[in-house]
């Protein structure tokens, strides 16, 4: 799959989330690998992709880039993932402790971050 740099989304942390976010630094720029109605899934300093409110980042009004997977629901909500991360399944399996998924996820994320430099 041909990958373009413009598919990558970066956001800057401008406010601390109410909970979590211990591995984020104010003012730092982070890679976003998922976009929902009101949240971004951001790769933090420990390379974990947690979900944070959009308000904590700038810009806060991003729309999913072309090429990302998009799942819409009847109530208007949607989820969009950067396919280069392996999508939702790889991320969820990684969080659930699956060693293969973790390895795949970290490989993909490191590659993405290396490309973005």
């Amino acid at each position: 799959m041909i990958r373009f740099k413009e598919y990558m989304v970066f956001v800057t942390l401008v406010a601390r989330p109410e909970t979590g976010g211990t591995n984020l630094t104010l003012g730092e720029r982070y890679l976003a690998v998922g976009i929902n109605n009101d949240t971004y899934r951001v790769v933090d300093n420990e390379l974990m992709a947690f979900v944070y409110p959009r308000d904590c980042f700038s810009p806060s009004d991003l729309t999913p880039p072309a090429g990302w997977t998009l799942t819409s629901h009847p109530d208007g909500s949607y989820q969009s993932y950067d396919p280069a991360t392996g999508g939702k399944k790889v991320i969820m399996d990684m969080f659930d402790g699956d060693s293969e998924a973790t390895e795949e996820y970290l490989t993909r994320i490191r590659k993405l971050l290396a490309e973005s430099v």
């Binding site: 979590g20 591995n23 929902n36 949240t39 979900v51 109530d75 909500s77 969820m92």
Partner: protein
């Protein structure tokens, strides 16, 4: 139709030909129409939703043993193993749980919550794995506990070994708490 067996004892000895007497008394003695409804009118029983021990009622997959009544469930919360309910119906669990919740049968504060205790620091440092409709089980969670998709998040501890996962819903309720890698209770 008025039959003799549906009448009170004092009328059973009355002659069937004594119709004037029957006409006077039948308005206060509901006739048996051969259905349960008629029987209930004559022998009213409490129509609450409490179970009668030892009886069997029809569930989605056929007759099944009754669960303890809701009073017992509330009095000794956690007595009903969540696994019992999960075994009831694999086809439409969301709808079934919704009905059980309406009936007040599920001890909702306890369902799916084990004995894992988290410190306030662990809760405040926890991260959100998924939220809203991104949660695969959000429909089931809403059916059981209420709220709307945006009220729900799936969270995990950060820096604790083993990691703990749970769903957090409206009002901050925490359900489905489990150790990372364990089967999702929903």
């Amino acid at each position: 139709m008025v039959t003799q067996h549906s009448l009170p004892c004092r009328l059973k000895s009355a002659s069937h030909t004594d119709t004037s007497r029957l006409r006077l008394r039948t308005p206060t003695v509901p006739a048996c129409d051969g259905t349960d409804a008629g029987d209930l009118r004559r022998h009213p029983v409490p129509q609450d939703r409490h179970h009668r021990p030892g009886t069997v009622r029809r569930g989605p997959l056929g007759p099944r043993p009754l669960r303890p009544c809701r009073c017992t469930a509330r009095g000794r919360a956690g007595e009903i193993p969540a696994s019992d309910y999960f075994a009831i119906c694999q086809n439409d669990r969301g709808a079934l749980f919704g009905k059980l919740r309406q009936l007040g049968i599920i001890p909702k504060e306890k369902l799916g919550v084990g004995t894992i205790k988290l410190t306030p620091a662990e809760v405040s440092n926890s991260g959100v794995i998924a939220g809203n409709t991104d949660i695969d089980k959000v429909d089931i969670l809403i059916a059981i506990f209420g709220g709307k998709p945006s009220d729900w998040v799936k969270k995990k501890t950060v820096g604790r070994i083993p990691e703990i996962h749970w769903y957090q819903g409206p009002g901050g309720i925490k359900v489905g708490m489990k150790v990372q890698g364990q089967h999702d209770p929903f």
